[in-house]
Each structure stands twice: as C-alpha cells, then as structure tokens.
C-alpha cells in the first residue's frame, strides 16, 4: 500500500471552551488511499476530530498538515477541493433547489465546463440510484436520500480523501449495501476515507484500520 501521508495532526490541542480541553496533544497520520474508521462512544470527540481534520474547526494549538501543506494557511474552500467532508446531519449541507443542482453546485462555480458538469452529475445520480429524484427539492427528501445526495455532491469535486460522519445513520440495509459498493469503488480509485461510525459490520467491511477514541484520545489504533 502507498504509505504517503494524506492528513496529519501534530501535537494538536483543541477545546470548544477555554476551561475544558477536549483534545490534548494528539498525533495522528492518515495515509493516502487508506480506509480508516474512527469509533468510540457518544461524546468521545469523533465529530470534533473529523472536523479538525477537514479544516472546518481550527486547532487551539498544534498543526494540521494536509497533503504536505500547513493547514492553518489554507482557506477552507481550498482544503475542500482535496478533502471532502459530510456532516453527521445531511440537512446542514443541502444548498440547492434540486438534486441535480445540488450535485453540480461545487463544479458550477469553479468554472468547470458544461460537458464536464453534466457528465459528472449524471454518473453520480446513477451511482447513487437517485436519477428519478433529479428534480426534487433536497430538503423534502427522506433522510437516506438526503445522505446520498450530500455524499454525491461531495464526490463531484473529486476529492483525494473524504471524511464521512456516521454515513450509515438512518440508512436501511439496502442503502448500506449501496454505500458499501460506492466505498469499494473509492478504494479502488485510491481515494482515502475516514469513516466515523457506530456500525460494527459496516466498519469491518469497509475499513482496514480502526482508530478507537475515548474522551478525546485515540486509545487504540490497529489494522484489521
């Protein structure tokens, strides 16, 4: 496997409020093309760690290094072109008035050609089996559909690494099956993923490395 580092935390400290430090002196490296899973109890700080790695939250001190570049100096929109992120709640990420606009959104404002946009949009609609929903208003979709739309919209930017916060939440078995297939495809294309999940079997199918988190610390880091 390729052992080049994709995302790295160095002596990272983070707190939401100055009086209580949530993450203390964390060192962690995620590798290119790696499929890792972040597991742990509610409130352990998984979402927080995911947001830190995606550059959404800024560390109180320490460093985030994204594909060799210092994260502090990179604006979020630049990071997002290489590192995708899907929120625990898909509703926070729905921005457009139709599913196809949602998927095309990121490309449209980055002066991608019309051909390219429609090609990417079509293939993602197909991949996630949401072609019949193309004209639907995203906020009116079912939970599982919203999740798929957000993931499709993130993948439209062609990220090299993607972080998914509880992607199986609210999906039925069939949808999890689809997600497994999509993740398998990403792995083949060498795209790294970090899955934040409580779903044991989902993690076992899709990840080779498990990071176990408790109270803001990685207490266990092993390969399956």
């Amino acid at each position: 496997m390729n052992r080049e580092i994709a995302l790295e935390l160095k002596n990272l400290v983070f707190s939401y409020r100055p009086e209580s430090i949530l993450i203390e002196q964390m060192n962690l490296a995620l590798f290119k093309g790696e499929a890792a899973a972040l597991v742990g109890p509610n409130g352990a700080g998984k979402t927080t760690l995911g947001k830190l790695m995606a550059g959404i939250l800024k560390p109180s001190s320490g460093q985030l290094i994204i594909f060799g570049e210092e994260g502090k100096t990179l604006p979020l929109h630049r990071i997002a072109q290489r590192v995708g992120y899907c929120f625990q709640n898909p509703e926070h990420q729905l921005l457009a008035v139709s599913v196809e606009d949602e998927i095309a959104f990121g490309l449209k404002y980055r002066s991608a050609g019309q051909d390219h946009i429609s090609r990417v949009t079509e293939s993602l609609l197909k991949l996630f089996e949401i072609e019949r929903l193309r004209k639907a208003f995203p906020l009116n979709l079912s939970w599982g559909e919203k999740r798929r739309v957000v993931l499709a919209a993130s993948l439209a930017l062609d990220p090299e690494f993607i972080i998914l916060d509880e992607p199986t939440n609210g999906l039925d078995d069939e949808q999890i099956e689809t997600l497994n297939r999509v993740l398998g495809g990403l792995h083949e294309r060498g795209i790294g993923v970090l899955l934040i999940s409580h779903n044991q079997s989902f993690v076992e199918i899709n990840a080779q490395r498990i990071l176990q988190m408790e109270e803001g610390k990685i207490v266990n880091d092993y390969c399956l």
Binding site: I56, H77, R78, H92, L95, G106, Y109, P138, L139, L157
Partner: protein
C-alpha cells in the same frame, strides 16, 4: 456593576423608554437631530452598564451599507452637490450622503434600544408585555422570534461552511455569480426555517399550549417609584424634543 443593579428597572419601563427613543428616531429626518439622539442612546447604554463600543463593533457591517445607500441615493436622486462624478453620472452627492447618514443614525439608535432591552431576560419582557394587556400568544411569539436570532446566525454560519466545503470561495466570485449563489441559498435557508418552525409549533401544541383559556404566572412585575420617575421624565423629554423638532427644523 452596582450601577446596573441599582438600575434594574421594570421591563415595562424599559419598553417605554425604547418606544420613546425609537419613535423619535423614526419620526425625525434631520441628520443633526438624529446624531444628537444617537448620543443620548449611547449615554443610556452606559447608564444600563452596556459597553457601547462592543455594541458598535457588532454592527460594523452597517458602514458598508452607508456607502452603498449613499451611492444609490446619489445616482438616482442626485440632490445637492456632486462630490464624485464619472462622466456625467454623479456617484456621490451631498444629498445622497446625508440621506445615508440619516438612515445609519436611525439604525444605530434602534440597535442601542435593542441593547437596552437585552438587559432584561426574555421571560421578564414577555411578562411585561402580558401585564401591558398584550395577548399571551403574541407576547410568546415575539419572544420566540428573539430566541431564534442566534439560531439563525448559527444556521447562516453552517451554510457558509457548507458552501466552502463545495470548494467555493464566495469572495472571489464575480458579482453576478456572487448574487446568484446568495439568492440561491436564500431559498433552502428559508425553507429550512419554515420546516423547523412547523415542528416547533407541533411540539409546543403537544405540551398543551393553550389547553386552558387563561394562564397563571409565577412571575409578577410591580412598578417602583424609579419606574414612574423614568417614565415620566422620558415621556416629557420626548414630547419636548418632538415639539422642538417640528418648531425649529421644519419651520
């Protein structure tokens, strides 16, 4: 700090004060008068123990508004002398600038008034409104509106994060696209708010809101002497100011 506690007025008194201040601000149109009124509201903030500086910092955005409004007024109304011109279009005129200043002072005064109200918690203000014989439902709705301001702010921040997560830097987009993105965002944000308020209404109803025709209340407000003093003084002052304004500035 002792000053603030000493000045713990009845929320109804504060409402009255704010009503006086903002009606002065809305009725009058002369920039000099308005700027004087603004100074008064700043002094009031100090009396209530709020830092006017923090308050003003929060509304820096208004400054951009001034420039924008001044330009709009100048281009379309072009009253007064031209200050900046391109060809034969005047981009900035004294008339436009004055109009913009009036607008800004008015906004500043209203913001200061809101600051005065924020020294009572929303529960006290609702109770004040109810004891002023406003129907409970209306008072409750008003307080919900206030409660939702930070929620909206949070929502807006989330949305801006989500836009950046799509790899878009809204600051560098050309104006046409910038407006396109913003208006595009408007719809889902508003729709989201409506969906949320619908479920809020349902959960309020499920907790038995309006199950009984009248509501009793644990908190009861009582006027004290200082409340009467403040109300009478501010009422008189407002009357004098209004009279003076129409006498001097309109004549």
């Amino acid at each position: 700090m002792s000053m603030t506690t000493a000045f713990s007025l009845d929320p109804r008194t504060k409402l009255f004060l704010v009503a006086c201040l903002s009606s002065c601000a809305v009725i009058t149109t002369h920039w000099a008068f308005l700027s004087g009124l603004w100074v008064v509201s700043i002094l009031l903030l100090l009396v209530f123990g709020i830092s006017p500086w923090d308050m003003m910092k929060k509304i820096r955005l208004l400054l951009y508004m001034v420039i924008f409004i001044a330009m709009m007024q100048s281009i379309f109304i072009s009253a007064g002398q031209a200050l900046i011109t391109i060809g034969n279009i005047s981009l900035m005129t004294t008339g436009g600038l004055l109009m913009a200043m009036e607008f800004v002072f008015r906004m500043l005064i209203i913001v200061c008034s809101a600051g005065i109200l924020s020294t009572s918690n929303s529960r006290e203000i609702i109770q004040g409104l109810i004891q002023l014989k406003l129907p409970y439902e209306l008072a409750f709705m008003a307080s919900l509106g206030i409660r939702f301001i930070p929620v909206f702010a949070e929502e807006l921040r989330n949305t801006m994060t989500a836009v950046q997560l799509r790899g878009i830097d809204i600051r560098v987009l050309p104006w046409r696209q910038k407006i396109e993105v913003m208006t595009g965002l408007f719809q889902p944000v508003v729709a989201g708010a409506i969906i949320k308020s619908r479920s809020l209404a349902m959960s309020i109803e499920m907790r038995g809101f309006r199950a009984y025709p009248t509501r009793s209340s644990y908190l009861l407000l009582k006027y004290e002497r200082k409340d009467y003093v403040v109300m009478i003084c501010s009422g008189l002052l407002t009357a004098i100011l209004m009279f003076g304004y129409f006498f001097w500035f309109q004549a």
